[in-house]
């Protein structure tokens, strides 16, 4: 176990709350009809991005997914620019050209959310190869889902990262579902981490709703990668609270299962309980943190609403460098 300072734990708690309230707001906006396109929420999975990204430095890289808001926030993304992007504004991360599924902030190592399931894994090989070649001691974390672990790109990437001994940690967010398909119906192994052995790398499965366990395990694997000792695969078991996208009728699973997860396995409630019990932070301060988080999200939304759409003449800019 790594000793974590109280300050660091409070920071992680704030990050989780920021993701939670950002996503709740996005959901509200989708239901109001203010957001177009598909939006995939990270609700219920906050501990994964938070625990993993808390181990990263600012110049470390991540590759993200279609369910990427949480990764972006945890890596230090600006929620105002995120919200502006999701509302299609020119002040957004991608000037409104990308939307929810393509948020990227290269300056802080976010090599992009991705609309293609499994699209980020091979990119992480290249980023890690670059870190190694340039001898920068940077590390890459590639987030992907249980569904993505059935893509060829997953298998090719792990193999290549292994034979080239690259500084990359593969983080599988096993939220039990790929759209409607339960992992047990699509995946040949019980734990995705078992697949690490095929590529001669370390594989671990952890409770992805326990942020401290995620942190501790990720820290160990990221340190190994940073020391030049090669890649690894970390599977975080979690649960997707929402439908695949906002508006998914969810004929494939029962509401009781979802409600049970929400009431008994909320990563934020669990961490909050721990912190209060251990007297890391008084309950009154927690209320204050929650209020401040909602204020931040209010500000982000206001910024997004007040921003303009990119002038249409600029639509064909940015295709080539």
């Amino acid at each position: 176990m790594v000793e974590l300072s109280n300050e660091k734990m409070v920071d992680m708690f704030k990050t989780m709350l920021k993701i939670r309230h950002f996503e709740l707001r996005v959901k509200e906006l989708v239901l109001k009809g203010s957001i177009r396109g598909g939006v995939h929420l990270y609700l219920g999975e906050e501990a994964v991005a938070t625990g993993v990204c808390a181990c990263l430095k600012k110049d470390d890289y991540i590759t993200s997914t279609h369910r990427g808001h949480g990764h972006c926030i945890a890596k230090g993304g600006d929620i105002s620019r995120m919200m502006a992007e999701i509302l299609g504004k020119e002040t957004g991360y991608c000037k409104g050209k990308g939307g929810s599924m393509h948020i990227a902030d290269i300056d802080i190592g976010i090599l992009g959310a991705n609309g293609i399931v499994g699209g980020g894994l091979p990119i992480s090989v290249g980023a890690a190869f670059s870190c190694k070649k340039r001898k920068t001691h940077q590390v890459v974390v590639s987030f992907f889902g249980d569904g993505a672990s059935n893509q060829g790109s997953f298998h090719e990437s792990l193999n290549m990262a292994s034979v080239w001994k690259l500084p990359v940690v593969y983080v599988c967010e096993n939220n039990q579902y790929a759209v409607s398909t339960h992992v047990s119906k699509s995946t040949s192994v019980k734990d995705v981490s078992i697949r690490a052995s095929s590529y001669g790398i370390e594989g671990r499965s952890v409770d992805g709703n326990d942020v401290l366990t995620v942190y501790n395990t990720a820290k160990e694997l990221i340190d190994i990668a940073r020391q030049g000792k090669g890649p690894s695969l970390l599977e975080c078991k979690t649960y997707r609270w929402e439908g695949h996208y906002v508006g998914d009728p969810m004929a494939y699973r029962c509401k009781e299962d979802v409600d049970k997860q929400k009431s008994e396995n909320d990563p934020i409630v669990r961490f909050e309980g721990y912190m209060v019990n251990q007297k890391i932070v008084p309950a009154s301060e927690i209320e204050q943190i929650k209020k401040e988080t909602i204020d931040l999200v209010d500000k982000a939304e206001k910024f997004a609403h007040e921003s303009k759409v990119l002038p249409v003449e600029k639509v064909t800019e940015d295709i080539f460098a």
Binding site: R36, G37, K97, M101, V179, S186, T316
Partner: protein, 323 residues
């Protein structure tokens, strides 16, 4: 006769073919209880699940390859790619395998497979979920390419595709699924490949339109009539094989040609059609043919930006007026 949406018409075709031939199978991501991303197979699970309808893992290469292998060995698979964009991942199986196997083997194998997949923008799904890649497949010898615009056509063409002994790429525009309703006969019917359809008769300009653009062209034609221009709209329905005669005969009558598709203009199917007409009916043309299509730009997310990239009624009207 009953009124059906595009998605319902496709579902009927699938169901009828399932019942006609137990070797017809359909598989893809979330096509089971979920009914597919656009609901085409919704409601079929109870009757056909696990027998003729199968959910796959998230694995496009394996999905396309499964169609190839199953087709070579006696089944008539329909593989669903959740979005046309994702077929890029399976291109080896589609282009190097499915399209060429029969030829490479000296005519020995049959590949009766269909890949059904939704195309197009207009839903704010951004650059990786909105493409119109039909021209890629038209360019590959060994593939047939179908792009229906109405529920009636969708049903008749899908049944033909399933019964065809060759690989067929069957492309469905997402905005067609729920929006357009049409009476569908209760008796069985098939629509042959290589036969276009005149969606509106006219005498002044030939407007060849594909998929969703047929509907934009119809609206544009109403407007143009107010300006005294009577447009004939031709829907080729299958891009390969292409019904040359229907297009050339129309141009012989009108002397003017505009082709419209959602895909970028550059190297789109419009280039092929214009080249075909100028090569074979040059002397009938009274003005240079025009092409209307998307800007040479990935599809952006935001509504106004997306509208700028995708051709609309106004673009069609302007092109026709400029002749």
């Amino acid at each position: 006769m009953a009124e059906k949406t595009f998605a319902e018409a496709l579902r009927e075709a699938i169901k009828e073919e399932f019942l006609r031939d137990e070797n017809v199978v359909l598989f893809g991501e979330d096509v089971g209880i979920h009914g597919g991303a656009f609901g085409v197979t919704r409601g079929l699970w109870d009757e056909f699940g696990g027998k003729q309808l199968f959910d796959t893992p998230l694995s496009e290469v394996a999905i396309a390859g499964t169609a190839v292998g199953a087709a070579m060995t006696g089944l008539r698979p329909i593989a669903e790619m959740m979005y046309l964009d994702f077929i890029t991942i399976a291109m080896d199986q589609v282009v190097n395998q499915a399209a060429k196997i029969r030829y490479m083997f000296g005519g020995k194998a049959k590949l009766p497979l269909v890949i059904r997949t939704p195309c197009g923008g207009g839903r704010g799904n951004a650059a990786q979920h909105s493409q119109s890649l039909e021209a890629w497949f038209v360019h590959v010898p060994g593939l047939k390419v179908v792009m229906p615009s109405t529920p009636y056509d969708a049903k008749g063409l899908l049944k033909t595709a399933i019964r065809d002994d060759n690989p067929v790429i069957f492309i469905e525009h997402k905005l067609l699924y729920g929006t357009i309703r049409q009476d569908i006969p209760s008796e069985e019917y098939l629509i042959p490949f290589g036969k276009g359809d005149i969606k509106r008769e006219g005498k002044d300009v030939t407007l060849v339109a594909t998929s969703l653009m047929v509907h934009k062209a119809l609206k544009a034609a109403d407007e143009l009539l107010k300006h005294g221009i009577n447009v004939e709209i031709i829907d080729p329905r299958t891009l390969f094989p292409l019904d040359k005669d229907i297009i050339i005969n129309s141009v012989k009558k009108t002397g003017r040609l505009v082709v419209v598709h959602e895909a970028p203009v550059r190297a789109g199917i419009g280039a092929e059609i214009v080249a075909m007409v100028t090569g074979e009916a040059f002397e009938y043309l009274d003005s240079p043919p025009r092409r209307v299509g998307g800007l040479h730009c990935p599809i952006p997310y935001e509504l106004e930006l997306e509208k700028e990239v995708i051709p609309d009624e106004e673009d069609i009207i302007n092109a026709v007026k400029s002749l």
